[in-house]
Symmetry: D2
Subunit: 388 residues, 4 copies
C-alpha cells in the first residue's frame, strides 16, 4: 500500500515550528547536563534547526525565546535564517527569570513589576515587527505557592489589564497566543491554569487573541482532544506546543509517551479544521532533550507528528460516520483503531524520497557528519541554555 494522493498532498502542507531552545542545554531542577556541540548563539540554534528541516521537510520555521535569543539586529537574524532555509516563527516572551518576577509578572501586586512585564512584551512585538513573526506566545509562570499568598481574583484582573495593553500594540496581522499550564513553577495556584481561563482572557481581548495548547500542561487523565475540539469549535485554537509526558510537564519527545493520544489529537485537529496553512493553528514543538541528543530528538519529534497525522488522514470518515450514526460502538472504535494500527513508515519514506528528502532522516543525520562537526567546532564560549 502507498499513501493515497489526497493524503500525500495534505501531508505536503504540514509545517512544524521548532523551538530554538530545544537545541540548547536543558534539564530538571536537579541538574542540567551539558552536551557537546550545543549552540552558543541564536545563529547556531537556527543552523541546527535548519538541519532538521533539510532532512525532513517538515520544520520551516524556528521559534525564538526572548531574551534567550536576544540579538542586536533581528532583521539580520531573519536573513540568517532565510539563508539557512528557514524562517522565524513564534516569538516567546519570558517573564520568569528576572529577579523582579519572583512573585509574578503581569499578575504581580506591584504595578512597577507589571509595567516591566508589559514593556517586555511590547519589546517582543518589536522583535516580531523586525522578523516578520506573526505570533506572540505568552506563557506566564505567574502563580502562588501558598494559599493566601496573593489575591487570585485581583491577579486575574491585573492579567486582563496587562494583556489588553499588549494586545493594543499588535499589528493587524499579529496575534497573542496565550498558553495555559496546570502547575509548575507555581505550586498552589497558576494564574492561567486551564483552557477555560486562557479562553476567557482571549475573548476579552478580541479576535487576534487565541489559545495555545501545550500537550503537557494538563491534569492527569485530561482528555486533550476534547479541548482541541472545543477550541476549534470556538475558533480560538491558535497553536500547539507539542511534547509528551507520563506525569507532569515532562517535555519528552512528542508521541513518545502515548502515541495513541497524539493520534487522537490529530484526528480532532483534522476533523475540526485545524490542519493546514489556512487553519490559523500553528504546530510547534516545546520539548527538552535533557539526556538524548538534541538534533535527532527534534527529527524524531517531527516524524512522530507526521506519522500521527498520516494515520489521522487515513481514517475512513464515511464508514466512521455511518457506524457512529448506527450507534455501533465496536465498529466505530474499530475504524479508528484500524487507522492507528496501520504502519505508515514505509509510505512516508516513499513520500520523502519523492520529494528529494532522505528516506530515513534519523540515519541520514547520523551519516551526515553534522554532529561531529559541531562538536568539534563549538568549543569555548558559553553553551546556550534556559538561563542564557
Amino acid at each position: 500500500m502507498s499513501l493515497a494522493p489526497a493524503v500525500a498532498e495534505r501531508l505536503a502542507v504540514q509545517e512544524i515550528e521548532l523551538p530554538s531552545w530545544a537545541f540548547a542545554n536543558s534539564g530538571t531542577r536537579f541538574r542540567v547536563f551539558g552536551q557537546p556541540g550545543v549552540p552558543r548563539t541564536p545563529q547556531e540554534k537556527i543552523a541546527d534547526a535548519a538541519q532538521v528541516h533539510a532532512l525532513t521537510g517538515l520544520a520551516p520555521r524556528v521559534a525564538l525565546h526572548i531574551p534567550w535569543d536576544l540579538v542586536d539586529d533581528f532583521g539580520a537574524l531573519a536573513t540568517f535564517a532565510a539563508d539557512h532555509g528557514v524562517g522565524i516563527g513564534t516569538i516567546n516572551s519570558n517573564t520568569f527569570q528576572d529577579d523582579a518576577y519572583k512573585l509574578g509578572s503581569l499578575c504581580h501586586s506591584d504595578p512597577g513589576v507589571r509595567r516591566k512585564a508589559i514593556d517586555h512584551h511590547l519589546a517582543c512585538v518589536d522583535v516580531m515587527d523586525a522578523t516578520g513573526s506573526t505570533d506572540l506566545k505568552i506563557w506566564l509562570a505567574d502563580g502562588t505557592n501558598y494559599p493566601g499568598q496573593d489575591d487570585m481574583r485581583a491577579r486575574q484582573d491585573r492579567l486582563a489589564e496587562g494583556l489588553a495593553e499588549i494586545y493594543a500594540r499588535l499589528g493587524e496581522h499579529q496575534r497573542i497566543v496565550l498558553e495555559y499550564k496546570f502547575f509548575e513553577p507555581a505550586f498552589y495556584h497558576t494564574d492561567v491554569p486551564d483552557w477555560g481561563t486562557s479562553l476567557v482572557q482571549c475573548l476579552a481581548l478580541g479576535d487576534r487573541a487565541v489559545v495555545c495548547l501545550d500537550t503537557g500542561h494538563h491534569a492527569p487523565g485530561t482528555n486533550i482532544e476534547f479541548i482541541v475540539m472545543q477550541l476549534l469549535r470556538l475558533r480560538k485554537l491558535g497553536a500547539f506546543d507539542f511534547n509528551s509526558r507520563f506525569y507532569a510537564d515532562d517535555d519528552l519527545i512528542v508521541g513518545a509517551a502515548d502515541p495513541f493520544q497524539l493520534f487522537r489529537i490529530l484526528l480532532e485537529v483534522v476533523r475540526g479544521g485545524g490542519y493546514g496553512p489556512d487553519s490559523g493553528v500553528t504546530f510547534m514543538l516545546d520539548q527538552c532533550h535533557n539526556i538524548e541528543q538534541k538534533i535527532p530528538g527534534q527529527i524524531r519529534s517531527v516524524l512522530n507528528v507526521q506519522e500521527a497525522t498520516a494515520k489521522a488522514l487515513l481514517v475512513d470518515r464515511a464508514a466512521l460516520d455511518r457506524a457512529q450514526r448506527d450507534g455501533d460502538v465496536l465498529a466505530a472504535n474499530g475504524i479508528l483503531m484500524d487507522a492507528f494500527a496501520t504502519d505508515v513508515r514505509a509510505d512516508l519514506a516513499d513520500w520523502r524520497e519523492s520529494r528529494g528528502l532522505p528516506a530515513d532522516p534519523m540515519a541520514a543525520y547520523a551519516a551526515s557528519g553534522y554532529q561531529a562537526r559541531i562538536e568539534a567546532e563549538r568549543v569555548g564560549g558559553e553553551q546556550a541554555g534556559w538561563g542564557a
Copy 2:
C-alpha cells in the same frame, strides 16, 4: 472568644439545599446496601430533610430529582414541604437511566432520543412552575467509552441546540444551572467535562444560564477555588454541589476528605460575592451516604459547611491585603491559616442556642427518637434509591 456580631449575622443568611436522594439508598456499582428507615416516597424524603433543617437552621430547601421524585401533584408536594418547614429547591433532571439514553441524551446522534431528552427537561420546567423552584439543574451523563464511538464535535453542537430549546422555555425568574463532570459514567469522553465547556454553553444561552460546580467533579489536583474565583468574576457561578472526595466522584460528606480545601473554597466564595441570598449562588449538597446513616450524614454535612464558612468570615482581610501587597508570603499565608486553625465549634454552638436551635444537632438528633420512629414505621413498600 465568641463570634463577632458581623460574622454571626452573615451566618444567619446561610441556606443549604438538601438533595432528596441523599435520604434514599445509594451505593457503588458493586452494591447498594439498604438501611432501615429509608424513605419510600418523596414525602418521606422531605420529612427527613425537614429534620435536618429543624436541628440546624441551615437547610430550608429540598432539591428534587425527576423522575425519582415524580408525584401526581407537585403543588401539593410543595405544600407538604411548607407544612414541614421547608421549601422545594432545585429541580434536577435525569436523562441517564432510561434505556433510550444508553449512548447519550441531549448529545445522542439519534434525533428521536434528543427529542425525548429535551421533552424531559421541558417537563422539569413544568415541575418548577408547579413548585416555585427557580433552578433547573442539568447534569448529563452523556459521553462515550471508546475513541471514535461518536463525534465529539457534533455532540457539542447538538448539546447547544438542545439547551437552547430548554432555555427558551424558562420563565423570567428561572435559570438553567449546567453541571460539568470530569468522568463517570462515561469513560473516554464526557460531553460537559469541565467548567470551560459549561461556561461556553451557558454564554451561548444567555444570562439565565449559569454553571454548577460539583466539588467532586474535577481531575486530581485541580485547584477548585480558582474556578470559583473565575466563575464569580465572570458572574457565571450559579450553584455548588457540595461533597468531598479522595479519588474520583466519591460523594462523601462535604469537608470530610479535605476540610482545608472546603475552607479555601468558601474564602473565594466570600471574596468574590458568592455568599448570601442575593449572590445568585445556590449551595446544595450532593452526596451519597452509602454506609453511614443518612440523616446524621446530612446534619454533619451542613455543619461542616457552616464551620468552614465561619472560618472564612474570620479572616483578617485588612491584614491579609497588606501582607499580599507587601509580598510577605509567610505572613499572608499565616493570616489564612490562623483563621483555619481557629476552633469555631463552641461559638457555633452558642450561635445555635441563641436562635433556639440545639447546641449539638448530632446529639439532638440521636436523642430525638426520630430514627427509631422511622425505622419502626417505614416497613414494607419499596425503599427509594437511585433507580426508583
Copy 3:
C-alpha cells in the same frame, strides 16, 4: 513480512481466561443497561465464552465468580464446559454484596463477619476441587470511607489471619491469587490498595500465594510495567486481570485506552519470564462491556492482547541490549518503537488461518448468526448481572 516461526510458535501457547461475568449485564452506579441475548445461567455464559475461543483459539478457559456462578453440581459444570471446548479457570470469590459485608469482610471488626468471609473462601476452594481450578482469586472490597472509621492496622492483621486460614485449606496445586486495587468501592482507604501490600500478605502466606495485577487498579500515572518487572523478579506475579482505563477502574476493553502501555506491559512479561504455560502467570480479562456487545467485546479484547504480544515478541533484543549498553537513548527507544509501529494484523490473520481459525474473528462472529440466535432464544428468565 510474515511472523518469524519462533514468534508464531510462541503465540501458539497463549491462553487468556475469560471472565464469565463479562457476558452478563454490567454498568455503573448510575445504570445497568441490559442487552438482548445476555445469559441467564452459568451454562449460557460458558457457551458464549466458548464462542470466543472457537473463533480466536486464544481463550480456552472461563473464570467463575462465586456466588454469581453458583450451581448445584460444579463437576457437571466442568463437564459442560469441556463439551463446549473450554475449561474452568480461576475461581473468584465475592465478599462485597452480602449485607454482612457493608463494612468489610476478611478485615471486618466483627469476628462473625470474618468467619463468614473465611467460610465463603473455603467454599470456593471446594468449587476448585470440583472443577479442577487451581487458582483462587481474592479481590476484597474491604476498606473504609471516612478517616477513623476503622483501624487500618488492625484490619491488616485480621486480613493476614483470615488469609492464613484460607491458605491452609489449599491443595498442593492450588494457589491464592491476591488482587490489589487503588480505590473503589471504598473511598478513604482500601485494605489491599497496592502491589506492596498484596506482596507482603503473600510473602507471609507462602509460595502458593501470589499477586494479581489488574491493569485498571492503580493511581494515575503509575508505571505498571515496572510493577510487572518487580513482581516477576520476586517470582510473585501470579495473574493479570486485563482491561483498560482512562481514569479509574473503567474496565474497558484491554488495549482500547492505551495500546502502547499494553505493549510495554507485555514486553516486561516476556522479558521477565512471565509468558507461557510454565510461567505461573495467568492471563485473564476482567472487563465490563456496559454499552458494547459482549461477545464481540471479548473477541476484540483477546485479539488486542495477542497483537500486543506479537509486537513484544518482535523486539530485536540483541540490538536493544547493545543500544542500552551504549547508553544510546534514542536508538534504544527507537528499537522498541519499531516493534510497536509494526502492523501485525495481516500476519496474525495468516497465523489464524494456518490453524483453521477465521482470519477475521470479529467478522466471523458477525456472520455466524450466533448473536441472532441467542437473542431469539434467551427470552424470559433473569439476565445474569453483577447482582445475581
Copy 4:
C-alpha cells in the same frame, strides 16, 4: 483547656531534623531566585538551623548533603554544630549531579559509573563515622525518560548489588534509609518508585536497611497514612522526609497544602509505635523555600508538625476503639475530627513558655534581628544552593 500532662510529656520528646539545604537557595528548573543572607558554607547553614532549634526546641539535629556540605574536617563540623546547640543528623548522598550520572548511578549499565556511585556512598559512611551520624539516606535520581532506554530489570538487580556493598560497610549502629519517589527527575521510570520497591530492596539487605517516606513522593490520591501503617507493621519505617504538595514533589512547607493529611499521618505514626526516640523513626524536613524566607519557613514547618502531633495525641483512643468496634461510622469519624478541629496553638504557646521558649517563635525570630544580621554579614562569597 491546656494540654494534658501526658500529652505535654510526649511532645517533649519530639525531634525533627532540619536539612542543611533548606537554608540554601533553591528553585525550579525555570529559575533559582537568590535571597539575601543565604549561607555560603555548611557552618552558616548549621548556624541558621540552630536558630530554629533555639526558638522552638524541636530541631536538635541538622542533616547534611554530600557533596553540598563537604568540609575537610567533619569532626570539627560536628563540634561546630554542638557549640551551636545542635547535632549532625542524617547523611544524604548525592549521585545525580556529576556528569557521570546522566543515565543513572547505582543502576547505570556501566560498571564504572556504578563503582563511582558505590564509592561515593562509602565516603558518606566515612562522614557518618566522623560525625556520629547513624543514618545514611539514599535517594536515587536513577531512572529513564524513554521506554526501552535501559532494562528495568537489570537496573533493579544492579541496585541490589550496589546497596549490598554499601550495607556491608555500615557500622553496627548505622542504617541505610532508602527513599522512594514516584517520578522526577526521571520521567518514564524511576528505579525506586514506590514503598514496595524500597521495602523489597531493604528486606534483601537486612535489619539495618529501612524505608524513608517522603510525603511528596507519591502518585495523586495515594493514601500515605496507609503506607505509614504498613511500614510500621513491618518494622521497616525508618524515616520521614516531611514537606507538602498540591501536585507533584512541590516541597512546600509541611502541613501547608493539606493539614488534615498531616494529622492523619501522625495519627498512624502514634498508633503504630513510630513516635519518639526509641521508635527508630526519624522525622526530617525536606523542603524548598523557593520564594519565602528560609529560616521562618523552617520554623513554621516544625511548628506545623508539632501542632499535628499534638492533635494526634488528643484523640480519644478508647472512644474511638469503641465506635470502630460498633461499626458506628459517623461517631468514629467524629472522634477523629474532634481532635483535628481543636485549636492547640494557645496550649502549645504555654508549653513553649513553660520550657523557656518563646510563645510565638515566628514573632521571636522576626524580633531577634538575626535576619538583618545575616543579610548584612553574608556579603560576598557564593551562596549555597543545590548545585554547590
